[in-house]
Every structure is written in structure tokens, then in C-alpha cells.
């Protein structure tokens, strides 16, 4: 199995607070990897280290390395802006720009000098179809994205991310603000997208992790307690704490 990201001895500090402790993990290509664990255990922090979104938080420190395409993403050779074009992100709360649906999707492309109308039109149609939003919004493409429902907005945000044709899509609890039907649609979408992308998803729902992921990492207090194939984690956990968590005994 080919690793697309290799995390080695990663430590992360908010000031003096060590939020991630010696993390080692290989993320496998074209798989869905889920991060589970009680809130505050560092899942979001870890996710953000993967595309350097923590750079915008003041007074933080990263140790260790994350190898992507043979380079450490925290080395000088890696331009964070370039990295984020290749490793996209979808957030917990849908955050479409107060622009049209069309402009939301093509924003990243425009910022990379893609301005040809035929190309942009094609990308908009393709990505909207990919996130199963096309039929719902095809008459509203030039209307404000803020008019969409929460679930539609989140699918638009996924469309916006994949419009960049990234290698990896990071998702931080993408369904936690959504109703069950929208959640189901996003889960189906994730399974569809893994053909073309590597997906890492933080979720507080163990059922969701079990349903959609191939690999699962269980986090506790900034440490990765167990990381394995999802089926093994859920059927035969090696660590007592993992077992306690997935059986609902704490968390």
C-alpha cells in the first residue's frame, strides 16, 4: 500500500501546551482514513498540521516531519500556499464565500491563473456533478452561495476543494453541523471520491468512521493510541482504551 503522507515523530505545541505527542503515521493513497477520539484530544490540530493551516495561529511550534512527495512539508523547500493547493480542506461548519456558487468553485483556480471561461465552466459543471449538487443548483449557479441549505453549502465546499484537483482532501467533522439526510449524502460522496482522492476525515461519530473509512486512528490526549484497518479497530482493538472508547465506555 502506497503512503501519500508519512508523519514522523510529530509534536505540536500551543505555547507550552503539547497538543500532539510523538505521532507516527502513514496515510495511504486512495483510502479514507478516519480520526476518532474524544473532543480536545488533538484530531483537528493534527489534521491542520497536514496542510499547515496551523501557520495562522500565533505562538505555536511544530517538531518532527511530515513527508509528502519526498519532501518534508515543514522544510524550506515547501511553499505552504503550494501545499494547500495539493492538500485541500473542508471545515466543520460550511464556509462558502459570500459570492456566487460559480465563483466559490472557481476561486482556487482563478488564484492559480486559470481564467479561461470554457475551463472554468467545465470544472463547475463537473465538480457540481461530482458532489451530486448539479441538479439541485443548476439554475442558481450565478446566485449567492449563501442561499443554499447547510448540507448543500457543505457539498459546495467539497466541490470547491476538489475543483483544485488536490491529492488529499482533509475533512474536519464535515457533517457535525448537518441533518441526517445531508450527512448520508456526504458519506456517500466520500465513498465516491476516494477513487480519485485520498481522504482524511475527523469524525466524532464512530458509526460514521466504521461506515466510510478504510483506516482508523484513535486519538487520546494528543497521542495516537491505535492506528489500523478500520475493521480491525472496530472488531478487534489491541488497546484497552480503544476498546473502551468504541464500546462507549468513555468519551
Amino acid at each position: 500500500m502506497e503512503a501519500i503522507l508519512s508523519v514522523r515523530n510529530l509534536n505540536f505545541y500551543y505555547g507550552d501546551n503539547r497538543a500532539l505527542k510523538d505521532i507516527n503515521m502513514d496515510i495511504y493513497k486512495n483510502n479514507v482514513t478516519a480520526f476518532i477520539g474524544p473532543s480536545g484530544c488533538g484530531k483537528s490540530t493534527f489534521l491542520r498540521t497536514l496542510n499547515r493551516m496551523n501557520d495562522f495561529i500565533e505562538n505555536v511550534k511544530v517538531e518532527g516531519s511530515i513527508i509528502y512527495e519526498g519532501k518534508d512539508i515543514y522544510s524550506k523547500e515547501m511553499e505552504p500556499v503550494e501545499l494547500r493547493r495539493r492538500i485541500g480542506m473542508v471545515f466543520q461548519k460550511p464556509n462558502p464565500f459570500p459570492k456566487t456558487i460559480y465563483e466559490n468553485i472557481v476561486y482556487g483556480l482563478r488564484k492559480n491563473g486559470v481564467n479561461k471561461k470554457e475551463i472554468l465552466d467545465e470544472v463547475v459543471e463537473k465538480t457540481l456533478k461530482a458532489v451530486a449538487l448539479y441538479d439541485e443548483v443548476k439554475d442558481k449557479i450565478y446566485k449567492s452561495a449563501l442561499e443554499l441549505s447547510g448540507g448543500q453549502q457543505q457539498r459546495l465546499c467539497i466541490a470547491r476543494a476538489i475543483a483544485m484537483q488536490p491529492d488529499v482532501v482533509l475533512m474536519d467533522e464535515p457533517t457535525s453541523a448537518l441533518d441526517p439526510i445531508s450527512t448520508m449524502k456526504i458519506e456517500e460522496l466520500v465513498l465516491e471520491l476516494k477513487k480519485d482522492y485520498t481522504i482524511i476525515i475527523v469524525t466524532h461519530s464512530m458509526q460514521q468512521a466504521a461506515r466510510i473509512s478504510d483506516y482508523t486512528a484513535f486519538f487520546l490526549n494528543g497521542e495516537v493510541i491505535e492506528y489500523d484497518e478500520t475493521s480491525k479497530i472496530f472488531s478487534n482493538p489491541r488497546d484497552k482504551r480503544t476498546e473502551d472508547y468504541i464500546t462507549g465506555r468513555f468519551g
Binding site: 495562522f56 500565533e58 494547500r84 480542506m89 471545515f91 459570500p98
Partner: protein, 301 residues
């Protein structure tokens, strides 16, 4: 378990009623004084227009209410005011917006904590200080570069008014940009946007209506600014767009006449109210427009 005795609500109700009555009275006082001021302004203005035609007032190009032959064309005063406003806007808008962007998007938290109060203190400096600064610092500086500049000139006063209104623009624009949720910024960063792009494409457009409103308020403030122009811009009503000349603004004229000994009830006395009404209508319109922009912004997200 012990029964808990609750205090009767009657006493509270009485207090609520009294507070409500007091607040209503205070509200009414402020409304009625405002209406009263506007009413007296309009009344004297009507008296003025019984003697001078509105057309002459609004289209005449000579303003010599105290000199024979008298002319009551307000345009020279309006032009003077506009000159000041344009010069001030060239200073306050770019610098104010620039510092707002810096404070909201670029400055580390520590720097912002220091700079923001400093800017706000700047807004509290009395305008007479700026007037003095214009006369003793800006004017000599200008005259060093352009020796033919008058001692009293529009440029110097305009620059001082501009400096004075910087905090207005920066503070209101910064508040609006800070109110843009970080989630929007992160959304753009995650698509590989640079800081400049995030500011330009996401933060400024989202905060745009408040930013525009801050510009309008600064302009409205510049129109109404009195002390600086009275001190540094001169008192020669002149239909000119040369910033190096001495001019007079509407407010400057009002100060000049109010300080002089114009007989009560005379035509010259009434010009005060006509000019005052025009001034009031201009700033009032601008404030209404600015409120419109702020409200539009609230709906945006």
C-alpha cells in the same frame, strides 16, 4: 424539603415602570431638541429666501454678503468645502484603510493591542490642536516646496482634516474586517490563496459596506469640520480649485459671521441659517447613505 419564599414581584414591577418612564422622557428630550434645532434653522432660512432667490443662492458664483454690491451665490463656499473634502479624503481614506488592513490582517496581536488604542486616542484630540498643527507645521512645509502658496490655504487645512479623520476610517473599517469570520479566511487559505489574496478577495468584499460607510462618515465629518478650516484655510470665498490659495468653507463662513458683530435679524445674519441648512442637508444625506450601507452589510452574513 423547606418551602422557598419568593420575593413579591410587585416592587420590581413598580421599579420597572419608573425606569421606563424616565427613559422615555430622556428619549423624548433628545428627539425634541433635535427637532427644535432643525425647526429654528429652517425658519430663519425661509426668512432668508424671502429676500434672496433660491436660484441665486444655489447657482450664483459670488459670495459677498457683507460688501456692496452684495451677492449671495453660495457656490464659492461649497467649492471651498469640496476642496477641503477632496484633499482630506485623499489623506484619510488610503491611510485609514491601510492601517485598518494592517491592524486587522497583518499586525501581531501584541502590536494591535498597542496601536488600536493609540489610534482611538488620536480621534479624541480636539480639532483646534490640528488647526494649530496645520498653521505651524503643515503650512510652512508646503510653503517651502511651493513658495507662492498663501499663508492661509486649502491644502494645509485639508491635510489636517484628513489626518484628523484617519481614525474614523481606520477604526470603523477595522471593526468590520475583524468581524469577518475566520472560517471564511481559512476557506480561502485552504484553496491556496495568499494573505494578500485573502484580504483582497474575502475580507474586504465581505466588510465592504461598512468600509464604504466609514468613508462617507469621514467625508461628512470633513464637510462639517470647522476649527481647522477657520484657522488654516483662510476667509476668502473664492470659486477656485487651486489648493494653494486661500479659500473659505461653509463652516468657515459661519464661524466668521458668528464671531463678528452682524446685527440680529439682518440679511447677513440670516445667511448663517441658509448656509447652515445647506450644510445640515449635505451631512444628513451622507449619514443616511452611510447608514444604508451599514444595514446592507448586516444582511450579508
Amino acid at each position: 424539603m423547606r418551602r422557598i419564599e419568593f420575593e413579591g414581584k410587585e416592587r420590581m414591577n413598580r421599579l420597572e415602570k419608573i425606569v421606563k418612564v424616565i427613559l422615555t422622557i430622556l428619549g423624548l428630550i433628545s428627539i425634541f431638541t433635535t427637532i427644535g434645532i432643525i425647526f429654528s434653522l429652517f425658519e430663519e432660512t425661509l426668512m432668508f429666501f424671502k429676500e434672496v432667490s433660491i436660484v441665486e443662492f444655489l447657482t450664483g458664483t459670488k459670495w459677498t454678503p457683507l460688501l456692496e454690491p452684495t451677492h449671495f451665490g453660495v457656490l464659492p463656499l461649497v467649492a471651498g468645502t469640496m476642496l477641503i473634502v477632496v484633499i482630506a479624503a485623499f489623506i484619510s481614506i488610503p491611510i485609514g484603510l491601510g492601517s485598518a488592513i494592517y491592524l486587522s490582517e497583518y499586525a501581531p496581536k501584541k502590536v494591535r493591542k498597542i496601536l488600536k488604542p493609540v489610534l482611538e486616542v488620536l480621534a479624541g484630540v480636539p480639532s483646534i490642536v490640528y488647526g494649530y498643527f496645520a498653521l505651524t507645521a503643515i503650512t510652512p512645509f508646503i510653503r517651502n516646496i511651493f513658495p507662492e502658496t498663501s499663508v492661509y490655504n486649502a491644502l494645509s487645512a485639508g491635510i489636517a482634516v484628513g489626518i484628523m479623520t484617519i481614525p474614523l476610517v481606520s477604526s470603523m473599517s477595522e471593526d468590520a474586517m475583524m468581524a469577518v469570520p475566520d472560517s471564511l479566511r481559512n476557506g480561502a487559505y485552504a484553496l491556496g490563496a495568499t494573505k494578500l489574496e485573502v484580504t483582497k478577495d474575502v475580507v474586504i468584499p465581505t466588510a465592504m459596506s461598512s468600509i464604504v460607510a466609514s468613508f462617507i462618515l469621514a467625508i461628512s465629518r470633513a464637510i462639517g469640520e470647522t476649527m481647522i478650516v477657520a484657522m488654516a484655510a483662510g476667509s476668502t470665498p473664492k470659486l477656485t480649485f487651486n489648493p494653494l490659495e486661500s479659500i473659505q468653507t461653509m463652516t468657515g463662513y459661519i464661524v466668521q459671521i458668528s464671531m463678528g458683530d452682524v446685527p440680529y435679524g439682518s440679511l447677513a445674519y440670516k445667511t448663517l441659517f441658509a448656509v447652515g441648512t445647506l450644510l445640515f442637508l449635505m451631512t444628513f444625506t451622507l449619514n443616511v447613505i452611510s447608514r444604508y450601507f451599514v444595514r446592507k452589510y448586516r444582511r450579508a452574513y
